[in-house]
Amino acid sequence: MKKILIYCDTKPEDLSLVGAVELMVDEEVSLTAIGYKEHCPSGNSVYDEILLIDDQKVMPYDTMNLCDLITENHKENKYDIILFPSTQLGRILAPRVAIALHVGLVADVTDLHLNHGIIEMIRPAYSGKLLAHIEALGTGPLMMSVRPGVFQPKAVQLKSTNIRELHGYQPKPSQIILLQTRLKPSTEDIRDSKILISGGGGVLEHFDHLEELATLLNAQVSASRRVVDSGLVSRRIQVGQSGKTVSPKLYIALGISGSVQHIEGLKNVETIIAVNTNKNAPICSLATLVVEGDAVDFIDKLSTKIKKNSLNFKEETQ
């Protein structure tokens, strides 16, 4: 039996880390979740045990104490695998725990293989054209971070979960104090959008055109890193490995080549329409509909057609 510890830092119903476990363990598992109350299930769940961190004692972002808490817990329970979501907190907590336990850490795993008992962690490498298989060396728990939403468990089996609050832990005085939290002026999240109009290097000079098509289709605009790096748009709308993982029903990729890192952000997208001057660009292999040609030309013509037809439609019904 393998013992797994999962740090919860997303919605309680997010089971993507449990999905990752399925891919790398082919025997029975005992699943322990650890996290703050708002991120953990409150009743019976897929977990055998849930350990709730007391937010009066250890504040989120106090990664020194969180790390000690997890390390102590590991020393008691000797987990085989410890998983973190690659959330903002997960990304600064996981490396600390890895050093405390003297084990390796692989970031943003996108696929997993069990190869003759060895777990291979897969992530994009360098150029965006290659994937790397990575193996952990040495003894001690296997650690990785996984982007939320990348994996989904196939079978969900409800267990009678033992929920415990972690009271015994004596934290050190915190060196980080939260002064205040302010909500940003509300900006829409590309992850919630059913349709995304996404632009890349091929529309760099005309990125503002995307907005027109987005309005007509009641969609949101997103971008590849090429556009974000050029400073035109905020990283908040970047799709991909260092951006967001999105699952819209329709993804219109305008002048995007489809590097590994970009495609990593496209999970469970129903339909991709790729508009590209090069119909052999990688993104075109993933698309249901490939439009060969200039993306701005495409936007203008399609927008005109949509506007014209909706006008006709109005006239007919009046």
Binding site: Y61, D62, T63, C67, Q88, R91, I92, L93, A94, P95, R96, I99, V103, G104, L105, V106, A107, D108, A125, Y126, S127, G128, K129, A132, H133, I134, A136, L137, Q175, I176, L178, L179, Q180, R182, L183, K184, D189, I195, L217, S234, R235, S242, K249, L250, I263, I272, I273, S285, L286, A287, T288, L289, V291, E292, G293, F298, L302, K305, I306, N309
Partner: protein, 265 residues
């Protein structure tokens, strides 16, 4: 106040070369650029120095000797010292080994603040700063988008962190490790014209394995806790697809498709 900036020169991702036999990136031949967020961190440090002239700034970078000219370019700004940690023995270090080597250097020195980028454009793991903070037993925050200049003197820094839909303000006791994000409003100045060819070599220090109390097996491939087994090109599952162009017929096909699937009312 003494500030250490951890900076990394990264291959310009557009022209990368990869050694498939050894599974490493060939850095020596590539055009190297300063990781943009690290530039933001250095720019902030220079701002502090403007406000508080007694501030000293040291750049620390681990990488190949080919980045020396780039470090010298930076040293022509108002920076006090650059330390290049460089040795062929370090090649192949994963983030565990890298953070261990850099932290080892830092334990021997006094500083109030370590500034880094939140992540690098090439590796994008965000591991190194948090790992160094753990080796040194220091608090750490990432995605920092501003540090309040007035708090610098208090031994307790006030700063804001960009957390998705929220901005969180924290007070952190120093010494601390802070990772800045690209959106922070600090920009590197240009080198003054008269300094363009200034000799700065006496402010550049180079360290190799023999300068560390680390053994050969603690660094490089041997000192790493992860190993790349293989890399390969991704094969994409080809979809059964429709191919059109942007002529009238093509646009009509797209329009009909959108209507048909209910994306257009």
């Amino acid at each position: 106040m003494k500030i250490v900036c951890l900076i990394k020169f990264i291959p310009d991702v557009e022209d990368f070369k990869y050694d498939h036999e050894r599974n490493v990136l060939i850095r020596e031949k590539m055009n190297q650029i300063l990781n943009p967020e690290d530039a933001v961190a250095v720019a902030f440090a220079l701002n502090v120095k403007k406000y508080y002239p007694s501030t000293t700034i040291e750049l620390v970078s681990m990488g190949p000797q080919s980045i020396i000219p780039k470090l010298e370019e930076l040293l022509r700004l108002d920076l006090d010292q650059a330390t290049l940690i460089t040795d062929l023995a370090f090649v192949g270090s994963d983030t565990y080994a890298t953070s261990r080597i850099i932290a080892h250097y830092l334990t021997k020195h006094k500083f109030d603040l370590i500034l880094t980028g939140t992540h690098t454009l090439d590796g994008d793991t965000s591991h190194v700063p948090a790992q160094i903070a753990q080796w040194l037993g220091l608090p750490h925050l990432s995605n920092v988008n501003s540090i309040h200049m007035n708090s610098i003197d208090l031994g307790r820094l006030e700063l804001s962190v960009d957390h998705d839909q929220e901005i969180m303000s924290f007070a952190v006791s120093t010494p601390a490790v802070l990772s800045l994000q690209k959106e922070a409003p600090y920009k590197l100045p240009y080198v003054r014209f008269e300094d363009l060819n200034k000799d700065v070599s006496e402010r550049l220090k180079m360290l190799s394995l023999k300068d560390f109390d680390l053994k050969r097996e603690d660094v490089g491939f041997e000192g790493s806790k992860t190993k790349v087994i293989k890399t390969y090109a991704q094969t994409l599952n080809r979809q059964t697809k429709i191919e059109v162009t942007t002529d009238e017929a093509g646009i009509q096909t797209v329009y009909d498709y959108l209507k048909d699937k209910g994306f257009l009312k």
